[in-house]
Point group: C5
Chain length 321, copies 5
């Protein structure tokens, strides 16, 4: 589905143009065309391939989807795949944005994602002194926008972990904690799969041999790179703490078992000792003087109660009860 198709000159919007005129505008050296697609059909991609002269393998990647984040050079043009991540009902929803960048065009095709980029376009059009740097700046603006949306998600995962940590140390619902930690670990993996390959890819846009189309905008891509490193560092830290939390949870479970065993032992003692005493006075010896005492029965009961009271206090003190 076509969202926008606009020509720009000197960083200012010229006009919306029909698709078939794209190849006209692309010829002007001081113009560039910025097209945005959403969940594009193969047919739409085929048209774009023809208008912009895109490379077959890149278009096939965009058609098939489910690529790793990457940035590939095809001659003078770039093909970038970036993952969008949204947190929907506690689940991570991973979308994909494919961006084709040439000297004077940008084609972005967004898939399986609710996030739009109209805000990016608006911001770019309000800053013509930046936008006139051309298509590479648009690529930067798109990436910067996507990467900046990673932060609140990582923060949400961090909050989630803090909640679980609290429950772990209160020995509360260890089974659920384990399930949540496992789920969290999975989500961190999804995030990392979005972030790590992109770090490597974007590095090539500002260090070493920079693709011609990105010459002069290196500092912008270094900025995105730096943000990605920050996300990555947070993810690594979270991952490390999740693993530790899993092992702490196991320790807490074992510890809880210790305490159950102790309590069980204490209560068993409280029952067993009177039973033993009752057993003794249930013996059938002829000569058991206590049995004939008038107060024998109440005294025996009192003895049982006294011993239990003593044991109870002792167990309390040693923390078994």
């Amino acid at each position: 589905m076509l969202i926008n198709c606009v020509a720009y000159q000197e960083g200012r919007k010229l006009c919306d143009i029909p698709i078939e005129e794209i190849s006209e505008y692309v010829k002007h050296p001081d113009c560039f065309v910025w097209v945005a697609l959403r969940d594009a059909e193969p047919a739409e991609l085929a048209v774009m391939q023809h208008e912009f002269g895109l490379h077959e393998l890149a278009v096939e990647d965009a058609r098939v989807g489910h690529q790793r984040p990457k940035i590939e050079e095809y001659g003078d043009s770039l093909f970038a795949v970036v993952h969008t991540v949204e947190l929907v009902d506690g689940e991570l929803n991973v979308g994909e944005v494919d961006v084709f960048v040439g000297e004077n065009y940008v084609l972005s095709a967004r898939n399986r994602s609710q996030q739009g980029f109209l805000g990016v376009r608006a911001r770019c059009e309000h800053e013509p002194h930046l936008l006139k740097q051309g298509s590479a700046f648009v690529l930067y603006a798109l990436m910067d926008n996507i990467v900046d949306r990673y932060f609140p998600i990582v923060d949400a995962l961090e909050v989630e972990l803090e909640k679980i940590e609290e429950r772990i140390f209160e020995a509360d619902s260890p089974r659920a904690n384990m399930k949540h930690l496992y789920g969290l670990k999975h989500q961190l993996m999804v995030m990392r799969h979005a972030v790590e390959p992109l770090i490597e890819a974007i590095h090539k846009l500002y260090g070493g041999r920079v693709p011609p189309v990105c010459q002069g905008t290196q500092e912008y891509f270094r900025d995105v790179y730096d943000h990605l490193l920050r996300v990555s560092q947070q993810l690594d830290g979270l991952r490390d703490m999740v693993i530790t939390a899993l092992s702490v949870n196991l320790s807490m479970i074992t510890l809880a078992e210790n305490e159950v065993t102790k309590r069980l032992a204490a209560y068993a003692a409280l029952v067993a000792v009177p039973t033993m005493i009752a057993g003794i006075y249930g013996m059938n010896f002829k000569h058991m003087p206590e049995l004939d005492w008038t107060l024998g029965y109440p005294l025996s009961i009192a003895a049982m109660a006294a011993i239990d009271a003593y044991l109870f206090v002792k167990f309390r003190r040693t923390g078994w009860l």
Copy 2:
């Protein structure tokens, strides 16, 4: 066993040729010969070595088999070893394809694998504009085909893990879960041994100094490389989750023990308390007024029942029963 032996010119099939004419056709600069063997005998390999002038060490590797995936240069020719992986009755079956590539020949020898490459040949013959890029394109087409067949296997392993995860959190059959997780870990290792060395090897076909025979087809090999990275990333993620699942399973087992202990303690209490009461009324004191009551017996039984009912409710509430 010889499967095919075909000469191509300008990307179009010329004709099936007998083995002994191979060396004739190989001399034509605009021709190339594509031979496919299956579970080749040493004698067949010896003939091929003679016809194509293959290097001794490469032929020995193909004869012995069980090589790591690799791509080696011998002068102007390449020798590639790629592992095929098939999922047969839940077991991974690893085969091996050895490909010898020269300026104008391709010899593929497939071993211990059910997968054929007739489809690859058919696809190539239908796209002469691609096939005319020569033997390197055939190498690409073979590799691409093998690598693409990795994806459904990794997906199957992923589904397998999800099934086990479910059973783990339902605390269902922990012993079987462990066995399956162990088996899964082993299969991931097998897959990784097929994938990781190939990533490294294929990198050399498109980056840095590219072997002469692959000049001009780098973008195709980069595409295979990218697919392999995707498989590798999935495998790494799976491996990480399997390890976590193993540790979660241990925690669930320990947790189950806690619960057994608690339940055991609760039931023990339900029996021990009446036993204690019965013991008390089994004492032989002369003066035990309750014993003379007409309702003494039913009251004592009622007391036992009442206490047990109270305990039962209490245990239920604290989750011990």
Copy 3:
């Protein structure tokens, strides 16, 4: 908030200057201006950006804050982000110092930190032969000061670990140990996030292509680098030991369980055996000679006591009690 704004010439303080004259002094080739801000407002940063001609992206990073430690080149100037770490009530408080360094200016903006740098300025002014090396030396002095403050914190964490270790091996309060170890692991992660990126960044100031502004002061930055490596090594060691301590703690908990179980079993035996004997003499057989003995009752009690005494000694010896 402006803390200082001073012009220096030949390593000696010239005078405090008003902000609006900065751009004057910056023009003198033999002068440099050193400005210190604290929790700067956006407006203040805007003024500084104008006076020093700072790069937009660097100023935005300083405005937004919460950057990773890093050192970036913008043309001839440097932008450095360093984390300050303070230990306040057992919690790590992470602040941030942003330093802009040009040929003849240094602007440091400190955020969320109690640590001041007046001492650094005083030390520099007392050593004009060093300060005359210019703005790079000021950057060194600031970094050196911040990094040197890492050591007491790492030492404090080390002491903390030693305390926990002791408690672990005394099997004392395993739950609290676990909580402290977890907290310690988290603090190590915070420290590492301050240290690791800085190591990588500072390496570029003395090895390989050194930024022009740091030419001639490489040995100083190597010194800071070396200190950071020391901190990093200590952190790595601590982290490794914390992980081991967590696992040892689990083992100690399991071991404690063993001992509880053994003690429980021993006490149970001490009660169960007399109960069994009492049960035997509570049987109603007609012909039980012992029952008619005058000393039957005391003898049976004595037997119970003797057996328990025997068991008690035996349990003590095998360490069950």
Copy 4:
């Protein structure tokens, strides 16, 4: 102990020569001398050092022994240390082969190893077209032979692991499994110490700057390198599985404990319930109608039996028995 001392010309054996003539033959540019020592005495090494002009440090390494696998250049000559590994009575026996290689000599000194290299010499002498490549080919042949003997050992370790795996999942002898896994881990470490350093060392004989004496035989060393990578990969895989097996074994032990606890609880119930009933009918109430029934006793016994039978069936069904 001297094993052999032979001069070769053009790949063909010239004659056995006495040690003192070595320095004569070494002067001929088209000759090379191949000497084999076994558990050489310092005096023998001193003679060799003099005859071949070996470097002091290399000779000292050979004299002291217990070196890491390595390949060092001393001027135009090479000094290689390779570990031999033999499986003797289930124990790994590590020997050492020191090889000095010059333009026209090879000196191999084997220590603490039963493996001889007469087979290597015989094979070389049967292939003069290969042997005429000179001393580097002999180095290759020795290394290839040693490395090829690693495979059956790794396979034996793999078989060992499979046996232990089986016993683990049958919950058979967990203590012995642990001991075997620990021992296996140790053996893998020994193997890895033989293999890993050699990989790194041998890489330098075919990639990058190749030592002059190995020019023209790179493809042979790449072959050895490739075999080593295969061994290394197998070792890594084994190591990974051993670690997992250790953790699975722990889980199986914990699981076994669960089952013991359950069974214990079930049997305890089978005894405790009749005891309770007996206790009730042992009470001394005046008015207990059942006690007067003629069938009271058999009925009570029947009730006990019936309850136990019911419990037994129930426990069986839930898997506690």
Copy 5:
């Protein structure tokens, strides 16, 4: 404290010289001065700094101490920090040797270490043909001596581990084993902190761009490097086994618990079954024929004994007792 101050010419000792003449001798191109200090005072270092013209930062490092092992270039001179390790009463004592090396001087300052280097000096003076290579050879001799003293320590740690292993598999004193393993892990960390940074540092003295003062002695430093790699490999292996041993110890503890539980259950059964029988014959039913038998009592006791004997044998066979 000054230990020695000697001038050498052509590898031969010239004479002991007073400190104030050092700067004289240093001017002779064919002389070099070798000074050894022990636990030097700041004042002594200041004198040396003046005599040799040492760099401020290097001297400060030596004064402050507690540096990482490192080798730094200051212009034409080197500053090396190496850790000495001694095993005193089972504790590792880490000392520090700071070595300043210039074209014609060596200054070694040893701190917190009992190890002297008189032996090194003696050995050097006995081999003038080596010593005449100058100050770099002295640096080598010192390093070689320190590094060679690492080996017996690592061997001692290995022996320690073997002792603990034995106790683990005999399930002997698991608490002490854990403590020793933890301590061992800590000692390995200390050793590693001495070894790892030095490996990296020393690599620069023989590979790539070698500092001018070390030209011609690369092979000696490669030898030290190689020894360090050997130590490092041993340390890595030990560390790996310690971690495994810790986890095996946990498994052994869990296993011991299993056995305690089983034994406990068995003994409980031996007591509970007679108690139940006694309870049955303690019931007050009017019609219990056994009670009237003359042999009732001995028969019941016999039955109890018989059942216990049967159970005892059965438990023995299944290994519960």
